[in-house]
Structure formats: C-alpha cells, structure tokens
C-alpha cells in the first residue's frame, strides 16, 4: 500500500494542479506558486478548526519533493488522508541577532536556546526564511516579504527571497505570463525601485516541471540560471545540468541535479569542492566520490558542504576549523574541549564519560582541518537525515523523526544548546524533544538558525 503512494502523490498533486487550486482559493487573490502546498488549500487557515493563527499545515518534508521516492515504512501524513487533526507549527530562532532581527526574544545580541520568532506586525504565516548576517527576510504564504534587522520594510506579491549583505533578491509573481526576479539594496526598505529586475521564464513542461517552485533561490525557477550577490548577478547554468537545487557558500557553489548528482565549483582552498584537492574549479564539476548514490539535499556553509542521500546518510566535506564537519578539530582540542569521535557512553556510576577517541594503537585520533572529499557522518544509530542547512561555520541536520542536530561554531548560540560552546560532534537540540515538538524545516543564517516545528502527533 505504501509503495503505491509515490505515484499517487505525483498524479494527484502535480504542481500545475496545485497552482490552479491556489488561484481559486487564495485569500489574497495573488498567485501563490507555493510548492509546499500539496494538499487541499486552507480556505481560512485551518482544516475544520477555523483558526487563522500561524499554523502551517505541512506534510512531512519527504513529500515536498515529489521526485524523491518514498521509502516503505514511512507513516502516512494525515494531510493526505484529509487532515483530521490540525498540525500547527511555529518558527523558532536561535543564534546571533545583534542587529535586532527577529529571532525570539532578541534580548542582548544572542539567543542561546530556541525561542519562538516574534514577527513585527503580529503573527504571520511564514513559509520561508532567508537569513543574512545583519537581517532576515521572511516570506509569508500570503506573498508578503518582511525584513527584520539592519534592513527593514515589507512588500507584497512575492514568493521567494534570498537575503545577503550586498543584495536582497526577491522572486515576484509577475503579471501575466512570467515571474520576475528583483534585486534590491537591503537598505532600500523595499521602497522605490529595485537595483535591477529580470524577467524569469516559466519552467518548461516535462520532467523539469517539478522545479517550478518557489523556495529555490538562489536557483531560479526555470533552473537555467542562478543569482549571486556578487557581479555578475545573473549567472546562467548549462541546461544539461537539470538543476534541482543550488546553494552558495562564501567562495563556492553546490548544485543538485534531477538525477541526484552533486556538482561543485568555485574556490577549493578549504576542500569545499569535494574533489579531493584544493584546486579551484571554474565550471560545475561532478562529485565523482558520490557517484552511484542519489542525493536528496545539498547545503553549503561558508567553506563547507553537506549533502544527504535519499537513504538518509550525511556526506560532509570542506573546512573543519570550528568542527563544522563533526570531525575532531585542533582548535577545540587546544581548549581541551574536543569530543569528536568518542565512544560516549556511560560510566559505571552512570555519569557520561567523554573520552578522546583513540586510534588503533591507542594514539589520539588525528585532527582534521580540511576534508577535501566527502566523508560519511553518522548522527546516531538508525537515524535518517532528511534536511540540512549550513551557516557560516555551523551545520544543522533534521532527521525523519523530527529531531534537530547541530554542530560547529557556537559562539553566538547558533547551535541552540543553551550555551556558546563550539562543538565538533553532532548534538541533538534537546529543546524540541523536551517540548514534544517535531522539527520540520531548518534554515540557517550565517550566525543563527531558524527552525519550524510542529507539535508531536499524539498516537
């Protein structure tokens, strides 16, 4: 029964059909090409409850990308059966908020433990968060872009945003046929005119049709180009790449194609390209080390790269100066804090014992500053990773069961472990477990983390 689900999902909820439904039912009357809306739309924000509160009735993440086959054994989301229980969720944030960007209480400049995001203008229906260093862009289901932090302002009619210090890129559902890409100066408060705009062609029909989704920036919906915060801003991609997802690091780019292959290009000085060298690559180059494995997700940090296989494995490579690869890093060892690679078990009296991992001959494991080709990372036995996002020097991974793991640079609380410790091994964010919340989406800014979580199902 479960095995037949994938086809049903695709045929019933193909994007073109959902789009039509959105047109019909959207309260704002504007086109919402929201790929996440794969269930019958909510006329008033809820199914049966009539609530207009924040809730996002999202199906489980694995259904958001129809090209990914479902695995047997996954429980069925209630949404597909016709939602007999509302699953309301909340956005949480933690980490750096030194410019006053909405990230929870925002007390001081840092939030060390997840706190509900308080949006200006009351609770809104945020479906996408793109955080730059000094400001965050929130996109609501109603098409409103709200900026918070060093850059402010709001505007309607948008479906996607990509925030960076130099540029705020917005995707507007244009009048008539095409959508429009707009680049704004963050300081403009979205008043006046964008710095430039570019008509974006609709996706072609055919297999690529699934990619006409918002939430893809910096990749454009047509998948023929992407946007960079540095000139040249509009960068075409070879059509042969069939790009599904694109992520930008400080000096490199990662691309996930429809076949689950990963390409990388840019500077390789810190091993972030994954080709086994420190050489730069001017053009997208296939990651041969991952050949044969279908990848489902990619994410790029400042100088590191992560991808998730369809079976939930994590592959990670690049710079490990803050332990963002979950490999032992020298800087932490010098502070006496590295615990990576340990066999963390319980001592006889039940207290947790941290031991530095030992090699075969009993010598301590070597430190890794740069990992130039993908390394497989185990979160915890049996867990499957389904979503990943990277900040500048930290990594956040979401499991199928809704647990969030973070590691790497933690100086501003961006790991969410109630402190500012930098970690070189994955640690679960206990806040969500304690509150019985399941994390559904994670989106990292350079020095902070935004998370969307729902209450756990009562079985």
């Amino acid at each position: 029964m479960l095995g037949s689900r994938p086809t049903r999902v695709r045929s019933e909820l193909s994007p073109s059909q959902t789009k039509k439904k959105d047109w019909q039912h959207s309260s704002l009357g504007s086109l919402i090409a929201d790929p996440l809306v794969l269930w019958p739309p909510r006329p008033s924000g809820g199914l049966g409850t009539g609530s207009t509160e924040l809730g996002l009735n999202r199906p489980r993440p694995e259904l958001l990308e129809p090209s990914r086959p479902l695995q047997p054994g996954r429980s069925q989301p209630k949404t597909l059966r016709g939602m007999d229980e509302e699953r309301r969720g909340t956005w949480f944030g933690f980490g750096f908020c030194g410019f006053g960007q909405a990230l929870g209480s925002g007390l001081g400049r840092q939030v060390h433990s997840p706190e509900p995001v308080r949006m200006p203008g009351g609770s809104v229906d945020v479906c996408r968060v793109s955080a730059s260093w000094s400001y965050t862009a929130f996109v609501t289901r109603g098409g409103r872009v709200q900026l918070s932090g060093a850059a402010g302002g709001a505007a309607d009619g948008y479906t996607d945003a990509c925030a960076s210090e130099e540029l705020l890129v917005l995707l507007r559902a244009g009048p008539g046929a095409g959508a429009e890409l707009q680049a704004w100066a963050p300081g403009s408060a979205l008043r006046g005119e964008p710095l430039w705009s570019h008509a974006v062609q609709e996706a072609e029909h055919g297999p690529n049709r699934d990619e006409t989704q918002a939430g893809l920036l910096p990749l454009l919906p047509c998948a023929r180009a992407y946007v960079s915060p540095r000139p040249s801003f509009y960068r075409p991609l070879a059509p042969t790449l069939r790009a599904r997802r694109l992520e930008l690091g400080a000096e490199h780019a990662l691309l996930l194609d429809a076949a689950g292959q990963v390409f990388s290009w840019g500077s390789g000085r810190h091993g972030q390209l994954g080709h086994g060298t420190l050489e730069p690559e001017p053009e997208p180059r296939l990651l041969e080390a991952l050949q044969g494995l279908r990848m489902a997700e990619v994410a790029a940090g400042g100088w590191h790269s992560v991808c998730l296989s369809e079976t939930g494995d994590i592959y990670i490579w690049g710079w490990n100066e803050s332990g963002q690869l979950a490999l032992p890093t020298k800087s932490l060892a010098e502070d006496g804090k590295t615990t990576a690679g340990e066999a963390s078990g319980l001592d006889e009296d039940g207290s947790e014992v941290k031991r530095v991992s030992a090699g075969e001959d009993g010598a301590p494991a070597p430190f890794i500053a740069v990992q130039p080709f993908p390394a497989l990372l185990d979160l915890s036995p049996g867990s499957e990773a389904v979503k990943v996002s990277c900040g500048s020097r930290h990594t956040a991974v979401l499991t199928r069961t809704g647990e969030l793991y973070t590691w790497g640079w933690g100086k501003y609380g961006q790991l969410g472990h109630k402190d500012t410790t930098t970690l070189d091994r994955p640690c679960r964010v206990e806040y969500f477990v304690d509150k019985q919340l399941q994390v559904r989406t994670v989106s990292c800014g350079p020095w902070n983390t935004y998370v969307y979580a729902v209450e756990k199902e009562k079985s």
Partner: protein, 424 residues
C-alpha cells in the same frame, strides 16, 4: 601598584581624543551594517561601556575574519583588514581597563598582535604603539615580579663623563618607579650590570646562542651584562677590547660604530681611567648630518670646539639602529661604539653624532649582513686579535669595515655575552 592605571593612562594618551576621530575612512566594500557597528563600538568606548564595547568588537572581529578568509589573501580588500585592526585595537584597550591583571594585559597584547598580523595600518600605526606600551608593561610587571626587591647599581646622570654623574644602589622596584615609569626627571640607567649572575631566575629566561662559544677564550671570561634604562640613555663613544654581542630586548637603540683604525681621529682621553673613551661629543649638538661610509668625507676636529668644522665629515663607519626587539649586533674587538639616544626622541640627550635620522639605514643593514661571516655571502677574513687601545690593528683595506652580524633572533630576553677574541 601604580601599574594598571599608569598603563591605562598611557593607552589613553595614544588614542584619539574624540569619538569622531576614532573612525576609519572606508570604501564601498564595507557594508553599511559593519559601518554601523564600527560607530557603535567607538561610541561605547567613549561612553565608558567597556564590556559592551568588547562584545561589539568581537562581532566586528568575527565578521571581518570571515572576510579575511574569503578569497586569496592578496585579493582581500584592505578595508576589511582595517576593520579587523580596529576591532583588535578597541578590544586590546578595553581589556586593559583597571583593575587589570597580567592575564588581561597579555590577552590585550595578543589582540594587538592579531591586528598587526592580519590587519592593516590604521590611525597612524596605532597598534604598533599600543603593542609597545603593553609589551613594556608586561615586561616591567614580570621583572618586578621576579626581581623587584633586589638591589642593583644605577647610574644617575646623562653620561659617565659628566661631572654630575654618580652611581647609587636601589631596588629594581625603586628604579622602575623612579626612572622608567611616571615621567622621570633624571636619567637613571641600570647599566653594565651582571644582573643574570645576581638573579639566576632571569638567566633561565634567556638562551645563549651557540656561536658565543666559538671563541678562543675561556668560558669564565664570558660575561653577560644587562642594560636597562629609559629613553635617552647615552654611553659616550668608547672602545671595547672585547668581542660583543648586543641583543635588543625592548625599545630602540641607535649606535654609531667606528673602526679601530679611526682611533686617532676620535681623540681618546689621556688618562688611564678614560683611555678607552673618546673626547668627542663634549660640545653642543651642532654639525651636519653624519655620513655613512663615504671615505671622501672624513672629518678631523679637535676637542673643545663646539663641533666639527663643516669641511670634513665624521669617520663613522657604521650605524646600527634596531627598530625591533630581537636584533643582535656583534662588533669586533677594538670597535668604537657610541650607543646613544634614539634619533629624534623627545627629551633625549643626543650629541652631534646622533641627532638626525640616518638615511643610509637600509644600506647599513645590508652591509652588515653581507659582511657577516656566517651569512651565505662570501665572508671577509677573520677578525684580528684584540687590539690595544689607540693602536692600529692589522687589518687590510677590505677589512676596514667593521664586520658585524645582525641576526633576528625573535626571542624575548636575549642579552649578550662578551668574550675576548676570535681566532686570529
């Protein structure tokens, strides 16, 4: 102790007076959000909110650090390096707020060093000055900790040829307090004292280069002297029969060196006590800037005059001015040396030999390196035997130049040994 507040005042004196002056002119590469933070840091600093200023500095440092690590180093925009340096500066000064402890000052010095290593010059090379102040403070704190109560001989008066010159005994603490810190009124000089024999703990801090043992003399004949004083200390032009290695630990020293062959032109005193001391320099500072290595401009003058006649320049062979600690000067036996105040320093006594900046500095260093017997360049003949005062050593024309070795040792606490002579 007056230490922490004296340090704080010394640092404040280096910084711009107003908040408006504590700013950087930056180009477009630096985003508005960062400019905001820089202004905020300056405001917090001037508002006395050190802790918040430190927090803002950390943000500035972390962000600019990321920029410094993006792209090849040579392509990193200099403005980002200046932002980084600015963060280091305010961080360093904030860390020294009284009551500071040695750990905070050491952390402040580390911040300065990071700014010097990775940042770019700002506000007139202020990081160099701050680092010098911090280093001096740390060194003084350390010396006081190890040797503060020990009694040492101190020379008071500008030079040992003066009438008012005297020697006295006092503790190291007293010496530092009276003659090093707090705007001393007189010049006090802890000079030519075998401090490391008196306080072996200090000797443990230094390592003696192996080449000091290359000589023929006996080990017991090797002496290590310490020279510790404020700016403006001068030793009159004198001749030393021993081989010397002079290592700079802290501060700058400007030294003029003359070949033994010029002994006659330097008019040593007739008396036995001062037979190795030149009479030159008794007059008021006048005269043209000294020249370097221009045999066509040798000077002859007689003592008692106000200065040299303008028609003949001085026979100075070489000058050595150590800009940075860690440099070592070695001079062969019979060398005339005039360690004097740093050229141009305020309040320092300097005579006609040392008033001006030596334009040939770089040339001096290069020459020193080239003539060094341990350098890869062809070495000159070995030094002659120890010369008697006023007698001419047997040196060929090529060897007229005093060979000297300048090494960058890069370690703290290097002083020097002297020993008799190298092999003939």
């Amino acid at each position: 102790m007056a230490g922490p507040s004296a340090l704080w005042e010394a640092l404040q004196a280096l910084l711009p007076r107003t908040k408006e002056e504590l700013k950087l002119e930056l180009g477009e590469k630096v985003e508005g959000s960062v400019v905001m933070l820089l202004q905020e840091a300056a405001e917090l600093f001037h508002g006395g909110q050190r802790r918040k200023c430190l927090q803002t500095c950390e943000v500035l440092l972390d962000y600019s650090w990321e920029k410094l690590n993006t792209g090849p180093w040579q392509h990193v925009d200099k403005d980002w390096r200046r932002v980084y340096a600015f963060g280091c500066l305010l961080k360093a000064v904030c860390l020294c707020e009284p009551p500071g402890d040695a750990a905070s000052v050491a952390a402040a010095l580390k911040a300065c060093d990071m700014g010097l290593l990775m940042g770019a010059a700002i506000l007139g090379d202020i990081l160099l000055k701050v680092a010098a102040v911090l280093q001096k403070h740390l060194l003084l704190e350390y010396i006081q900790e190890v040797a503060g109560c020990r009694t040492v001989p101190v020379e008071v008066g500008s030079r040992y040829t003066d009438e008012g010159w005297s020697q006295t005994l006092m503790t190291v603490n007293e010496f530092i307090s009276k003659y090093i810190r707090n705007e001393p009124k007189d010049i006090g000089y802890l000079a030519q004292h075998q401090l490391f024999d008196q306080i072996p703990e200090l000797k443990q801090d230094i390592s003696i280069p192996d080449y000091c043992c290359l000589g023929d003399g006996e080990e017991e004949e090797i002496t290590i002297n310490a020279w510790f004083g404020p700016q403006g200390t001068v030793s009159p032009l004198h001749q030393d029969p021993q081989q010397n290695f002079l290592a700079q630990v802290m501060g700058r020293k400007y030294i003029r060196l003359y070949s033994p062959q010029e002994s006659e032109a330097l008019y040593p005193h007739d008396t036995h006590l001062l037979h190795n001391t030149s009479q030159v320099g008794l007059g008021a500072p006048v005269g043209p800037p000294p020249c370097l290595l221009r045999p066509d401009r040798w000077v002859a003058f007689s003592p008692g005059e106000d200065g040299p006649s303008r028609s003949t320049p001085d026979p100075c062979t070489l000058t050595h001015s150590s800009e940075t600690p860690g440099r070592v000067l070695t001079s062969g036996p019979g060398t005339w040396a005039h360690p004097g105040a740093t050229p141009g320093c305020q309040g320092g006594r300097s005579d006609w030999l040392t008033t001006s900046e030596e334009p040939g500095h770089q040339a001096a260093d290069e020459l020193l390196l080239q003539s060094c017997p341990w350098s890869p360049h062809p070495s000159p003949a070995p030094a002659p035997t120890a010369a008697q005062a006023c007698s001419e050593p047997r040196m060929t024309d090529e060897e007229r130049v005093i060979w000297a070795l300048v090494l960058k040792l890069g370690t703290r606490g290097m002083f020097f040994r002297t020993y008799r002579s190298l092999a003939a």
